[in-house]
């Protein structure tokens, strides 16, 4: 019976990933997408679930372009892809998008959100540089945690620490969450009531790596010594050690209170003239970076980034929530997570490689419609998830959607095409600030609906007329049906249906006395439709 086949997976789930040994995983030399589909489809078979069919070509183009380039595809991009009869056209599309400059810009935005949301800063400038060279993720981590203030290229990475240096609890909790997939902030006040993994020792152990970091005269600095003390729930005072999440301790003789630091002297130093304080001979933060990347310790690091990137492309992580990667919360596909983490480590933490594998899988390319009653739970990846667009994706796509497709035709040289995209991106930045960054279970607020319904900037920015605008082009078309279809194809990236054409034709006909206004309203209704707002 099906149940018996489930038992090995149940055992694996209940015992957690630590029991799945490397030699039980699929071999190393397989393509990522093949491994992904193997494990996902194995589970689907076990549960007797027939997954949704692959998404159609137009749908796939839109989804992929949004995920890799941060925008909807142009009219011609969609049409070219749909019309192509090449067997490997999906791979070719993936490669084209990943090699275009827009890929780096979009990934920089997404990683910046992952690293810096909840702060007022950004490391996007640094990320643009790093991602353009496909800098290995462990080196990015190192750049962010141990910024080199003397290297102009790496200096910008210091924002990660600077935005958090005033609240070392926040720094501890956020580093643990972002890089290790672990939220241990409850363990600040007491041992975790449910999860045996997290005790106060762990929180303060992690905090010890950060407690010596401070800011002086606008520069980041670190003391050589430091000691974190805490009180247990029973009121016993304890001294923390430099202890990582695995329980591994760095033995050091620097665990003592540091002598009065320079910051307390109250001197106002001119930030530009004083050189950064000399790096300490013993750096607790550097020890953390080194330790967290060692064999036997680096599972947290590798699994967290795999899980976060998976979550971004699938709308649901292999472990959910993203910062609850502990023994009481097993991944939905433990072997898959282990395999992908191992692959990442063995390929120098190459995130491009990981992304490429994800988007080439069948699991990624499924339809998002489920017509057979209640959809299966998200964790089996039987059907693609509907994901709200991020602020920048939405703003950029809005700008693209109201642009005359002829100005973005395939006949443009790729540099010229990219230049036009960049122009749209820079004007999209302001609009993007009006939207909330979606989290899991994002709910659109009425303020967004009011913004689109009555906001003058929407009216001015998006519904304006002009030579390079879709509205201008539509006005020139004599045939109403052709205009309608062009609008739908440009904005929704797919052909219009008969019923849509009928509905829109009636709407335009009723306003035959004010045709430009009617077209503008039609464009509005398409831009504000649910379909536009989401990646599906």
């Amino acid at each position: 019976m099906r149940f018996i086949r489930l038992i090995p997976s149940l055992v694996a789930i209940l015992c957690g990933p630590s029991l799945v040994r490397a030699n039980e995983l699929l071999p190393r030399n397989l393509p990522l997408e093949q491994v992904i589909d193997h494990y996902v489809e194995e589970r689907l078979k076990e549960e007797g679930i027939e997954p949704a069919p692959p998404a159609g070509d137009a749908n796939f183009t839109r989804r992929l372009t949004l995920d890799l380039a941060g925008r909807i595809p142009t009219l011609e991009e969609t049409q070219t892809f749909v019309a192509s009869a090449k067997a490997d056209k999906r791979i070719a599309l993936v490669e084209r998008l990943m090699n275009a400059p827009g890929f780096v810009r979009h990934q920089a935005t997404e990683f910046d959100t992952m690293l810096m949301s909840g702060t007022r800063g950004s490391v996007r400038g640094y990320l643009l540089e790093a991602l353009a060279q496909n800098r290995p993720w462990d080196l990015v981590y190192r750049d962010l945690m141990l910024p080199d203030e003397n290297d102009p290229k790496r200096k910008a990475a210091n924002e990660f620490l600077r935005q958090r240096v005033r609240d070392l609890d926040k720094l501890t909790a956020e580093v643990s969450s972002i890089f290790f997939g672990v939220n241990i902030s409850c363990a600040r006040c007491h041992d975790h009531p449910l999860v045996a993994d997290w005790k106060q020792d762990h929180f303060f152990g992690m905090k010890s790596f950060f407690s010596r970091t401070y800011e002086s005269g606008g520069k980041l600095a670190e003391r050589e010594t430091g000691l974190v003390k805490f009180k247990t729930t029973k009121g016993v005072e304890r001294q923390a050690r430099l202890m990582f999440l695995t329980g591994k301790v760095i033995e050091t003789d620097t665990l003592k209170e540091s002598p009065g630091s320079d910051t307390k002297k109250g001197k106002k130093t001119n930030a530009k003239s004083t050189p950064p304080p000399a790096p300490p001979k013993f750096s607790a933060r550097a020890e953390l970076v080194k330790l967290s990347l060692e064999p036997g310790q680096r599972d947290f690091f590798a699994r967290s980034i795999v899980n976060r990137i998976w979550h971004r492309f699938f709308g649901y992580g292999l472990v959910m929530p993203l910062d609850q990667m502990h023994s009481e919360n097993a991944p939905s596909h433990p072997e898959l997570l282990d395999w992908l983490a191992r692959d990442l480590v063995e390929h120098q933490y190459d995130v491009r490689r990981l992304i490429r594998g994800l988007v080439l899988s069948r699991a990624y390319a499924r339809e998002s419609r489920w017509d057979k009653g209640e959809a299966p739970r998200a964790a089996v990846f039987a059907v693609a998830r509907v994901r709200p667009l991020t602020p920048m994706q939405l703003a950029m796509s809005l700008r693209l959607a109201v642009t005359d497709p002829q100005t973005l035709s395939a006949s443009l040289k790729s540099e010229e095409f990219d230049k036009r995209l960049q122009a749209l991106e820079s004007s999209a930045g302001g609009l993007a600030r009006r939207f909330d960054q979606p989290g899991d279970d994002f709910q659109v607020g009425v303020s967004e609906a009011l913004l689109f319904s009555n906001g003058s900037e929407i009216e001015k920015d998006l519904l304006a007329d002009g030579g390079d605008r879709l509205l201008g082009r539509l006005k020139q078309l004599k045939n109403r049906e052709v205009a309608i279809d062009l609008a739908v194809r440009t904005i929704l990236c797919r052909p219009s249906s008969d019923s849509e054409r009928q509905l829109l034709a009636d709407y335009l006909k009723q306003r035959a006395d004010r045709p430009a206004e009617a077209l503008r309203q039609m464009i509005w209704a398409l831009l504000t439709s649910a379909e536009f707002r989401f990646n599906y």
Partner: protein
């Protein structure tokens, strides 16, 4: 639903008449939230009746941490008491700070709670705690008081906002934004930060009203098809947001203070706080279930006495005007007025003549609907350093607020399949405070 089977088809009988009149008095709150079938507001008698029975709440949020020693729990003569005296009130045995003479005359509406011990002295964390009645969990963001009341006391097809929050000051603004947590943006506040006119509430000149309406209907129709076979609450929220636009646009008048007779405006006084509290009354009178008016910035780490000398009399004046106004309109029995901060202030006076954050023994007040006015609950020691009687935390305060508004504080919401009660299991409301 069983009710449907008894229908004769007429919308007026969509609910059992006797049930309506019976429950209207007792529990209109629960009733209102289910009233999707019958548009009661179309029927004048029922509308009037319902409007009066619907419970509402106004929260006067004293941002930054108001000092209990300079307001509701004075300790004159104690080394920690400061220069202000205590004055007797209209209720024998109850004394409040001399800075609140007007409230002293009206103590019969108000219950003072002096025994809050909430253990969080950080602006951000404490504001979150005192707005939600609990701490967020890492993977569960709770709705705050406004969002819960928007859900419990509001109408699905509401023509007015459900949750309005005024916070014009810049200090502390980022620390306590309203949040609907897992209830979703449907119940998110209409945040008023800079203007008394809600943003984007007015139709633009370039489009006439009929087009505006029909354009929205076109949008709805185009969106319907997309939702087929795609169950997602995010997706659903998108359509719901657009469906409320027209109704919200119509409620713009409520925010206009100039619509009130000058006599009433004068009662609340010429300050921004006074005007916003008056607008809050207009809003709840029109059926908005919850309005928060934030007054900043009470965080007197220095010059505590000057700061309170300025802020407390204003609070005194505006709160008195509000209670009088509500009573005159017959609304006070159905409106709960709360004064609350994120924490109180230390009895210890620091070298800058200030008081610092203090969550160990501080005060809040509840007036009006469902509470025993003219009473004090809980006691602090002679210096105000500890609670000696009736210690409560945020959870019990919230349980009491919910009960006062006729809401079951142990009612469950569901996040996925996880039941999430409004307050932690085992939390008891303060019986002594409830009417």
């Amino acid at each position: 639903m069983a009710l449907n089977q008894r229908l004769c088809g007429s919308p007026l009988h969509a609910i059992d008449r006797r049930g309506f009149l019976g429950t209207a008095v007792a529990g209109a709150a629960a009733f209102a939230a289910d009233m999707t079938q019958l548009n009661v507001l179309q029927h004048p008698v029922l509308a009037g009746e319902l409007k009066k029975q619907q419970k509402r709440c106004i929260l006067l949020w004293l941002a930054g941490g108001a000092s209990q020693l300079e307001t509701w729990d004075p300790k004159p003569g104690a080394p920690t008491g400061g220069p202000f005296r205590a004055i007797p009130t209209s209720v024998p045995g109850i004394h409040i700070s001399e800075l609140m003479p007007q409230m002293a005359k009206r103590m019969k509406h108000t219950c003072i709670i002096r025994s809050l011990n909430t253990r969080n002295g950080d602006h951000g964390g404490a504001a979150q705690l005192m707005m939600r009645g609990r701490r967020d969990e890492p993977n569960l963001k709770y709705p705050d008081l406004g969002a819960v009341l928007a859900r419990e006391l509001g109408r699905r097809d509401s023509q007015v906002p459900d949750y309005v929050s005024f916070y014009f000051a810049t200090e502390g603004r980022g620390m306590s934004p309203g949040t609907a947590g897992f209830l979703g943006s449907r119940y998110a506040p209409m945040e008023m930060y800079t203007s008394m006119v809600p943003e984007n509430i007015r139709r633009l000149d370039g489009i006439n009203d009929l087009d505006h309406k029909q354009r929205a209907e076109l949008r709805d129709l185009l969106s319907k098809q997309f939702a087929d076979g795609r169950a997602s609450s995010s997706l659903g929220s998108h359509n719901e947001a657009y469906q409320r636009v027209r109704g919200l646009m119509a409620s713009e008048k409520l925010f206009d203070a100039a619509q009130e007779p000058q006599k009433i405006r004068d009662r609340y006084g010429p300050t921004l706080f006074g005007e916003q509290v008056m607008v809050a009354r207009r809003l709840i009178e029109a059926g908005v279930p919850f309005v928060r008016v934030g007054r900043a910035w009470w965080d007197s780490h220095g010059e505590n006495f000057e700061t309170h000398q300025e802020l407390v009399p204003e609070l005194d004046h505006v709160m008195s005007a509000l209670l009088d106004d509500l009573q005159e309109r017959g609304l006070l029995d159905h409106t709960l007025v709360i004064t609350l901060s994120e924490f109180g202030r230390t009895p210890q006076i620091n070298p800058s003549l200030g008081r610092d954050h203090f969550a160990t023994a501080w005060s809040a007040t509840l007036s009006g609907c469902g509470v025993k006015g003219g009473s004090v609950y809980g006691k602090t020691d002679a210096k105000g350093q500890h609670v000696v009687e009736g210690e409560i935390g945020a959870a019990q305060l919230f349980a009491t607020i919910y009960r006062a508004l006729g809401i079951n504080h142990q009612k469950n919401y569901y996040v996925g399949s996880r039941p999430v009660p409004l307050t932690e299991p085992g939390t008891k409301p303060i019986k002594a405070v409830l009417a």
